[in-house]
Each structure stands twice: as C-alpha cells, then as structure tokens.
C-alpha cells in the first residue's frame, strides 16, 4: 500500500471517529467543538478528492459560520437544559431510531458502491463548452453560466431564511437591532484581533472571489470569508449589529439576487433568451453578478447568525 493510500485510509478513519464521538458527546459545547473539528477534517478530505471549491466552502461555512451559530444556540439552550432533559426519548425509541439510521446508511453505501462505472455525467460536455464562457474554473461556469437560474433561486432562499429568522421577533422588537453574539465586556485582546484581522481578511476574501473565475474560489467562498470578518468585529464590540429596519442593510441583502434576476431578464432583450448572456460580455457580466452576490452573502450570513431583533427600536 502506498503512503498516499495509507494517508487516505487514516484520514477516513479519523473522520469517522470524530463523527461518532460528536454524536455521543455529553455536553452541547463538546459536541459543537467536535463538529467544528469534523468540518475541518472534512475539508481536508475534500482537498484529497480534488474538490477545492467545496473544501473552501466547507472550511468557511462548516467550521466558521455554522460553528458560531451552534455555539450561540448551545449557550442559549443551557438555560433550558433542565426542561430539555425531561423530554428525552425513551430507550426503545432511541434503539429503533439508531436501527433506522444504520439501515439508511447501509442503503446509501450500497447505492454509492453500485453506481455504474463510469457514472453518467454531463461533465465532459460542460468542459467542452467552457471555452465559450471565457472562464477557467468549471465550477463557476456551471454555477453562473450553465445553471444560473438555480443559483439565483438559491440566493433568494437565503433572503427568505433571513426573513424567517427576523419574523421570530416579538412585535415590540420589530425594527430593532439583533443581539449579535458578542463578548460580555469589551476585551483588549479581542479588540486587537478584530482590528488586525479584518483588513487582511477582506483582502483575502475579495481575492478569493476574484480568482474564482479561473481558480478554485468564487462568490460564495469570498462572501463567507467577508461575513466572518464582519462577525469578528461584531463579536469584539467594535461595531454594533445594524437594526433590521435600516435601508442599506435591506438593499445589501437583496442586491445579489436582484442583480442576478435583472441580468437574466435583460437577457431576453439583449441576448438569445431568459438568462442568456450576450456573447461578447460573458466574463465581465459574470464577474459583475458575482460581485453583488458576494456582497449579499457577506451581509446575509452574519444576519442569520445574529438572529431575530432583540433590542427595542430607536425612535
């Protein structure tokens, strides 16, 4: 067995071990730490599978943003843990639930292992048409050029998610600011980090968005990194979460899908149809759309983590 194969096997075993431990962890906090570790290992696995864009997304979203979300939830649930403990399912229920999970896993493994080889795929055709888009990264071409309508709908789903989160607020708080996760007291170390890290983070985030046209990267990954930088400044209490009624926040949230949709509709007049791009401007148009998508994602993710408004609106 070559060194590479041994490394891959070790990595797979490690991922399984961390996953199993996360399920059986006693406290919510320990489980969240295990989940973040699992996300990190998963992004290494994805690099080994040559899926670099997905690895970047997993690192940014799985380890970063979702980790913060889960930790905030766990901290809030600590108060309700007594009530939650009373609602534990009984032993037979848990046994049959685990049997069901094992059966589903076996079925999935069976399906994956019995796929025809080579698997049916559109990848060669997409690769052939890649030159027409002027892009070097096939993932970006698929997302923004070949199935652009789906991608736009995904961004609309993000906006709907924010609306859903905001609607959880009691009426009296509507229009106020969310109580973003933040330190109890302003701390100098945290403030130092929040002043030093974001300039580089913003630079790296924009670089990853820009480079996504030809290399692994793209709007989603760049936007997630920008979102993490904004969240750090909020956590260090250098800035406050904006009130949900602020105009610029709402404009930034819808900018991505709105520009995407407008470009798609304009394609009816200026190119060959709905969501078609005029042949000479494909790459600049794609970058233009991606820029607004990056902005939207950078604003949406922190708002999802910040949660519903919990401050009274200022008059």
């Amino acid at each position: 067995m070559s060194v590479l194969q041994a490394l891959d096997l070790g990595l797979a075993a490690l991922v399984l071990a961390v996953a199993v431990w996360t399920i059986f962890a006693r406290e919510a906090f320990a489980a969240v730490v295990g989940y973040v570790a699992y996300g990190l290992l998963l992004s290494i696995v994805l690099v080994r599978l040559f899926a670099l864009d997905v690895a970047l997304t997993e690192a940014a979203i799985g380890s970063g943003v979702t980790g913060v979300l889960l930790i905030g939830a766990a901290a809030r649930l600590r108060e309700a843990e007594k009530a939650a403990a009373d609602e534990q399912p009984s032993e037979p229920q848990r046994f049959w639930a685990s049997v069901l999970c094992v059966l589903v896993t076996l079925a999935l493994a069976g399906v994956v292992l019995s796929l025809p080889d080579p698997a049916p795929t559109l990848a060669p055709e997409a690769a052939q048409k890649l030159a027409g888009t002027g892009l070097g990264n096939p993932i970006t071409a698929v997302l923004i050029a070949f199935r652009s309508f789906d991608t736009m709908l995904e961004k609309v789903v993000l906006v709907l998610a924010v609306v859903g989160v905001w609607s959880l607020a009691p009426d009296r708080y509507w229009g106020g600011a969310p109580g973003a996760p933040r330190a109890a007291r302003p701390e100098s170390t945290l403030a130092f980090l929040a002043q030093l890290l974001p300039p580089f983070g913003i630079l790296i985030g924009i670089h990853i968005f820009w480079v996504g046209a030809d290399e692994p990267g793209g709007a989603f990954q760049g936007g997630a990194i920008l979102a993490a930088m904004w969240m750090i400044t909020m956590m260090a209490r250098l800035t406050e979460a904006p009130p949900v009624s602020s105009i610029w926040l709402r404009l930034a949230l819808i900018a991505g899908p709105a520009v995407f949709l407008a470009t798609g509709v304009a394609g009816v007049a200026m190119a060959s149809g709905f969501f078609a791009y005029p042949a000479r401007f494909v790459k600049p148009l794609i970058l233009f759309i991606e820029a607004f998508m990056t902005l939207s994602i950078a604003v949406t993710l922190p708002m999802l983590v910040a949660g519903p408004p919990r401050r009274l609106p200022r008059r």
């Binding site: 170390t189 890290l197 580089f200």
Partner: protein, 97 residues
C-alpha cells in the same frame, strides 16, 4: 544545489513534526490547563513555521511563497490571541493555579 535544498527541507519538516509531537504530548500530559496552553502555542508557532520554512523552496513562484508566509503569520496571530482568550476563560472557570 537542489539536493542541498531538499535536505534542508527535510530537516526543517522533521523539526516541525517533532514540535507537533511535543505539543500533543504536552497537551495530554501536563497537569494544568495553563501549562497545556503553553505547550500548544509552541506547537502552533514552531511546528507550522518550520514546516512552512521547509516547503518554501518547493513552491512555484513568489505569490505562492507569500501565501505560505501569510498563512504562518495568520496562525501566529490566531494562536497568540486564542491563547490569551483561552487563558482568561480558564482562569474565570476555576481557581487560579
């Protein structure tokens, strides 16, 4: 010349791996949270730093080398700040060591 570079790389990477090993041993065996933190920061800084040093001759170009150095600088920053924050959290929880 490339043989000399290869040998230097191997030495640097072995040293880095040793520091990771030492850091883990410290994390597992030291009696106190703050002692363990000390071991962790050594592994962070020196382990990654030596490996990055060993990988620099093998990168393809200036931008990739700068990225490697930027990764090291970011982890240094993150490690130092996290060490301070974790130490405060550890002190808040239990009696002062």
């Amino acid at each position: 010349m490339s043989l000399v570079l290869d040998i230097l790389s191997i030495m640097a990477i072995c040293a880095g791996a040793f520091f990771f090993f030492a850091g883990t041993v410290g994390l597992l065996r030291f009696p106190d949270a703050l002692c363990r933190l000390h071991a962790l920061t050594k592994a962070d800084n020196l382990g990654l730093g030596l490996v990055v040093l060993g990988l620099l001759p093998r990168t393809g170009g200036l931008l990739a080398s700068l990225k490697l150095l930027a990764i090291w600088a970011l982890i240094q920053l993150a490690g130092a700040t996290a060490a301070q924050l974790i130490a405060r959290a550890a002190r808040r929880k239990g009696p002062a060591p």
